[in-house]
Amino acid sequence: MIKESFFILKKDYKSELRNRYSFNSLLLFVIITITILLFSLGLEDISLDIHAGLFWIIVFFAATNGLSRTFVSEEERGTTLVLKLISESGTIFLGKLLFNLCLMVLLSLFVFILYLFFMNGFLIKNYFLFFVTIIFGSIGLSSASTIIAAIISKASNKGTLYPILSFPILLPLLIILIGLTKSSMIGKSIINELNQFLLIISYSGILITVSFLLFDFIWKD
């Protein structure tokens, strides 16, 4: 199943390179949001809490734009049928989850680079903690986003449904991530934050397990 899901990841990557379904909208969203923030904040110094919050708000809404496309693009192109004919539902889910995870890591890093260059006062003191937060945050966000994307692909009102469904599910994760980002800006050690990472691991583990169990029902019929 794992080998086959990597081929789904490869297919989606090639497809993304040629179609730019998610990537372009993600990049545009991030650039536009950071530009608006720059104009509105100017050279004003903002607190670490607000920096950390803004960083994850950008990532969350960019993810809303891009990650929800995973299944919607298949549904819109009518290619879900061919996927059903070549693979088990679990393999499809895992492949899409891996694709979303890669997209999330790239997106977070891209937001981080832009933020670092353009936002006044955004200084990371513990880079190790920050990057581990990005990796774990991406795992958490993609695990929730993938199953929500699968659910909304079957609905008629796809555009508004994603933020409605994802907000309550992602809120606890975002609060933890904002806290961890602030800790990395203060320069706290990762040892002090282990409990937070355990929480993210439990959150992602539960979501991925439940998603695997549910996905078959969403995917068929």
């Binding site: 297919k11 040629r18 192109r77």
Partner: protein, 205 residues
């Protein structure tokens, strides 16, 4: 030997009964025809046989040498063709076939795919993106897709749609050959397909 059988199959869509009490029992080598007027449920039934839709009541099972085939493994054994099947427009003809077999974990040598494309007369256009294909060429590629995993069971819904005379000749030759060794299920209103049928499910009744 493969056996395909259905018992008292019923399908209800949004409270409307599409068909009821459909039973059949076929085994290799043979051909099952599904006929019926538009909207009678031919495509629905063939999708149920392919495992793409669930039955409301009854059951459809595949048996290989006396053992029931798990529905999760069905995709490795069947080839499916229909006009509503969409392949990936952003990939070339040969890329589509290779990507599908990679995901199925059944990738073969490149020559296999080239031979398939020659068989459906798409060899010269193998490196063109699918979005540049005509509807008839897409149907030919779908035939190649249905055959690419060397299936025991071929499920064809309106197999001749969009095809020109030479395409129809190709698909008939494929169906005749497959009928001699495996199970062939055809949902069609085209009377020129009827000579292949060993058993018929008439959804007009």
């Amino acid at each position: 030997m493969i056996r395909l059988f259905g018992e008292s199959v019923q399908k209800v869509f949004n409270g409307r009964e599409v068909f009821n009490n459909i039973s059949f029992d076929i085994h290799t080598p043979s051909c099952l025809g599904i006929i019926g007027k538009n909207g009678s449920g031919k495509s629905t039934l063939i999708k149920i046989i392919a495992g793409l839709l669930q039955v409301t009541k009854g059951k459809i099972l595949y048996e290989i040498d006396g053992k029931i085939l798990s529905p999760d493994k069905l995709f490795k054994r069947i080839g499916f063709l229909s006009p509503y099947l969409q392949l990936y427009d952003e990939f070339t003809g040969i890329e589509n076939l290779i990507i599908f077999d990679e995901i199925r974990n059944q990738k073969k040598e490149k020559e296999f795919y080239l031979d398939l494309l020659k068989k459906v007369e798409l060899y010269d256009r193998r490196n063109d993106l699918l979005r540049t294909y005509s509807s008839g060429m897409k149907q030919r590629l779908k035939i190649a897709f249905a055959l690419s995993n060397e299936p025991d069971v071929l499920l064809f819904d309106e197999p001749t749609s969009n095809l020109d005379d030479s395409g129809i000749e190709i698909i008939h030759s494929i169906m005749k050959q497959h009928k001699e060794r495996g199970i062939l299920v055809i949902a069609s209103n085209d009377k020129s397909d009827y000579y292949l049928f060993d058993e018929i499910i008439n959804l007009n009744k």
